[in-house]
Symmetry: C2
Subunit: 360 residues, 2 copies
Amino acid sequence: MAAVLAAQAGTTLELIDTPVVTIDLDVMDQNIARLQSYLSLHGLRNRPHVKTHKIPSIARMQVAAGAAGITCQKLGEAEVMAEGGLDDILLTYNVLGEAKLERLVALADRISLTVTVDHADIAAELSQAMRRAGLMLPVLIECDTGGRRCGVQTPAEAVELAQAITRLPGLILRGLMTYPTAPASGAFMGETIHLLKTKGILVDVVSGGGTPGVWTVHEIPGFTEHRAGTYVYNDRNTVAAGAATLSDCAMRIMATVVSRPTPDRAILDAGSKTLAADLGQGVAGHGLIVEYPDAVLAALSEEHGHVDLSLCRRAPNIGERVSIVPNHACVVSNLHNEVYGVRGGRVDVVWPVDARGAVR
Amino acid sequence: MAAVLAAQAGTTLELIDTPVVTIDLDVMDQNIARLQSYLSLHGLRNRPHVKTHKIPSIARMQVAAGAAGITCQKLGEAEVMAEGGLDDILLTYNVLGEAKLERLVALADRISLTVTVDHADIAAELSQAMRRAGLMLPVLIECDTGGRRCGVQTPAEAVELAQAITRLPGLILRGLMTYPTAPASGAFMGETIHLLKTKGILVDVVSGGGTPGVWTVHEIPGFTEHRAGTYVYNDRNTVAAGAATLSDCAMRIMATVVSRPTPDRAILDAGSKTLAADLGQGVAGHGLIVEYPDAVLAALSEEHGHVDLSLCRRAPNIGERVSIVPNHACVVSNLHNEVYGVRGGRVDVVWPVDARGAVR
């Protein structure tokens, strides 16, 4: 496989068969630099979330540009990144169960690893595993500041959990974490830090996250670092959220028109197994066809994209190639074995998506 | 990887870490046998679609049970299946472009391969490639009998394309194909066969497809074979369509409750990168939690399943394992590197999903 991939470097993009995921490297470089410079300007550490690309080489580029470390969403993702040379990882996930704790200990012994917790039982399990291994694990308390995912529900709950953690051997309480950072997050974090101080507990990390609201996180006080993932590629959702423009979208899915059953319909060789079925927020269809912006990628079957051309003045022919900006870049990465990095219309690099499918 | 997988055979299911895709092999065996016996009873050849499982071993079981061959949806899928010993493949896809035609020729030289076409230009390209290679390729004409995917739109168009194909060297017109088989399909196919006869064109294959309506396809006249995919596992969509019961669903995603942020919410370690975001037709949520049928898997983030427990009388604890019947089995297969075949609560076999990600 590696040999096949290497052989395609230097090839003109048009010679790469479809469907294929391409990354415009100039655009990606700009996205990486822009966020780094924004966060640096505001004194926030940058800890990009690698779930968007799942590629150690890109994570290393983010660190080389100034990131303090990276964020992973599953233990398996973190293992792949550690294997790829990343040595400062925040795993924003409750890790539990014997099998995962064993792997967690091995990883914590190897790199600088921090994990989040939102419950005393999980902290107790982590503590036991770390104590047995003779390791100290830094932890952040996950706070639900409105995102309604995991997390303690109130500053009082956060303080209670913090007190439990400080009593547990093998764990070091480093701070707080939330997703996504929103105006309400500032008040929650501020009150928690204040309450912790009254109990004599000092922490030095307050970690926020998210791409859609990333350019205003400096207005929300109390945070020390930010975790953005999608910004590295951007997609229709980040454009719809106002966090990027279409020209900031580095990921494209190149597809071919394989059928034109009627004058108002085209069928592409990219369906839900290529694009993922996620509908965007406030965007029509399953992706934007760059060359035919009035076309609507109205439905996906597994290997076919169904395009409604009824609003188009011109229509693509059978065999014509088109490029699609996906609704959600992160789930596209997770479908593909490799992505093609492109510069000036030529393939510069082919990256295996090493952490693809790392769900455990 | 193979060694790791082999080491897990014989293990109690509870010892396999989550999230993990399991296949109940007794249920799958039954599903395979039941459809084979139904189609055989009605004199229809069985040509199961492997897009649901993407595993050559399961395809071989389907053939061993009596299937005449298999169906693939992408050339890459067909290559993996040929590599896995399957030697009679129908590829229900317009194949075009130099790169794919080269691979198609290599595959047609190696196994008994039939492809579908819905346009004279595609037939002409196929013809040229086959003639150059000195091969004869059997083809079926794809007919849109209401599914609104690819396909010629009318019997008259089908006849026109058939006449074009019969004039092209390297191609043998074998018959017609449609998806899905529906009551209207019978009339379309019947009229086309009649018109073809008046032109002196005789064909011997009329291929229909689909799982939701599979148990009544014998009532629709004129078909010689059927391509069903999902029936091998079944899922919430096939249950909602009345084509299976819950006890016929062989695929489960085993997941663990990783957070209980509030009394009415649980968070699972299975999100859209594990379950796929496809919503079902006429079913609530992103999958059925077997142990908590009143719980609603209301939303998915990438690595978290958000469960609404507000209708439940009892609720799962952190660390508790649950099993999920997915809405759409085929897209779940495409997310996972392997599935675990289970019999009597023990892992019998671990299959790599060899054709996962074969989008080209």
